[in-house]
């Protein structure tokens, strides 16, 4: 059985833990280097990306995780987690860093502030319709050819259709929150890929 970590510095950690536990994986909440070194894969949860980035530094995890990502470590990021994995951030803080593990450019709050946060069904390749919950979500506005687009969405805000669920080798990212809808199918895709 694989040991799957959930980065537990801030955010909706509990929801991801519930999803993963329903899939018979051993789930580890990761706050320390020792915990990071004990797992086969990691989920980066939703939350505030600037807060999680700050806490990765203060907890001494930033470089250790970066090294793992360069070695092809399997990760799945949702919303803030996707922001941390991305290659370029538009409309973020001037000094906001990201790992560049996923060759996408995204715009923070690219679907608007909280008042524009929304739910919409999402058609995912090989899975079918899942419930997409977008909370101040980042918008993937550019991506490299080797990024596999598994779902797209046009929310009807006049800014067009963009990827919302992507994969590049071992790195998976969703701009929405599959963990909030109580449906573990996307987590299953990730765990089955390990």
């Amino acid at each position: 059985m694989k040991r799957v970590g959930v980065l537990a510095l801030q955010g909706d950690v509990g929801e991801h833990v519930m999803m993963l536990e329903s899939l018979d994986s051993v789930v580890v909440k990761v706050r320390t280097i020792e915990q990071l070194e004990s797992i086969d894969a990691l989920v980066l949860p939703g939350g505030e990306s600037t807060t999680i980035a700050h806490l990765l530094v203060t907890a001494g995890l930033k470089d250790a995780l970066g090294e793992k990502l360069r070695d092809g470590f399997p990760v799945f990021g949702t919303c803030a987690g996707l922001i941390l994995l991305s290659a370029e951030i538009l409309d973020g803080r001037a000094d906001q860093w990201c790992y560049g593990a996923l060759s996408v450019t995204l715009r923070r709050n690219g679907y608007g502030r909280q008042i524009a946060s929304f739910e919409s069904p999402i058609e995912v390749t090989g899975v079918g319709s899942v419930s997409g919950v977008f909370i101040r979500a980042p918008r993937i506005v550019a991506w490299d050819n080797d990024v596999e687009v598994l779902a797209t969405l046009d929310p009807g805000d006049g800014r067009g259709e963009h990827p919302v669920f992507v994969r590049q080798k071992n790195v998976w990212g969703a701009s929405f929150h599959p963990e909030l809808a109580g449906d573990p199918r996307l987590h299953r895709l990730f765990v089955d890929s390990l």
Partner: protein
């Protein structure tokens, strides 16, 4: 693969509660200007509460405390990328309408401001923007949720720097939830009457053992140890009002409370961030207070 093109639904309970879920494990800081908002964001705050005076100053100055000037809120929105919350007076739905029009991310219908209605709280279901409300006990929490609140914070006693009321309110809410969770289902009708809370919500808490929305803690948290204490008592995140910018070294205090909130179960981390921190805000002994803000709201 076909693109998903269904109409997007805004303002649903899941979407409104979802932002509260994203703030879990974080610190929401009161700020009165863009400079403080930047300090809060730099220190790792998950959100800021934009207001004209922190509770300690409201308490000192007296007078009527109202919604902040929209210009100040907009300046803070422009200064940071994290969510910006703002306070409306209890029952003042026109202030709430203005805050929604300003695109704030969360409205706090707050006892820290002077109440505008002594009988009715705001109908929060009528808004797309989510609301947080304070509570001193489970009945009050469930009444607010019944009115549409998507996040509950235990009230504590704002502006005192004294955590005693926050502890009292958290313990009360948790004890009352445990009572419901262990109750026979035939008892719930009378328990709902005693709590003065909507029966369906009482039944939901009895089933799950927890609130249907996240439970955060506010009112009197002023050190990293205070944050660790209330998180260990079951709070999922903390609001820090006067505790940061009334301390000797706000930047360090902000960073320390953020770290203590993440690592609240690791006393060695809380000890490290507490070391040489400078003095916390001076604070008030609550028995000496003339005005108890927690008594506002019903």
């Amino acid at each position: 693969m076909s693109p998903s093109k269904s109409p997007a639904v805004t303002g649903s309970a899941l979407v409104k509660r979802g932002l509260a879920d994203m703030l879990r494990g974080g610190v929401i800081m009161d700020v009165v200007n863009p400079e403080q908002a930047k300090i809060a964001e730099d220190a790792g705050a998950v959100a800021v509460m934009a207001l004209e005076r922190v509770p300690a100053d409201i308490r000192r100055d007296g007078g009527v405390a109202r919604m902040s000037d929209p210009l100040m809120i907009q300046e803070i929105q422009a200064a940071v990328t994290i969510p910006v919350m703002a306070k409306a007076r209890i029952g003042h739905f026109a202030e709430a309408q203005i805050l929604q029009a300003l695109d704030v991310d969360y409205i706090d219908e707050s006892e820290v401001l002077t109440p505008a209605d002594e009988e009715y709280h705001i109908d929060k279901w009528a808004f797309t923007v989510p609301f947080v409300c304070g509570a001193t006990n489970l009945g009050e929490a469930l009444r607010r949720i019944g009115e549409g609140a998507c996040l509950i914070r235990s009230k504590g006693e704002a502006g005192t720097g004294n955590v005693v009321e926050a502890v009292r309110h958290l313990r009360t809410i948790n004890a009352q939830m445990r009572r419901l969770h262990s109750a026979d289902k035939n008892e719930l009708f009378t328990l709902a009457k005693d709590l003065q809370a909507p029966l369906p919500l009482v039944q939901e808490v009895a089933q799950s053992g927890k609130l249907p929305v996240p439970l955060f803690c506010a009112g009197g948290i002023s050190t990293p140890a205070d944050a660790s204490l209330v998180l260990q008592l079951g709070a999922e995140a903390v609001f820090v009002g006067s505790g940061i910018f009334k301390s000797e070294d706000p930047t360090r205090m902000a960073c320390a409370i953020v770290e203590a909130t993440t690592h609240y179960l690791d006393a060695s981390v809380v000890a490290k961030v507490s070391t040489g921190l400078g003095s916390a805000m001076k604070g008030w002994e609550t028995s000496s207070l003339e005005q108890r803000l927690a008594e506002r709201g019903w």
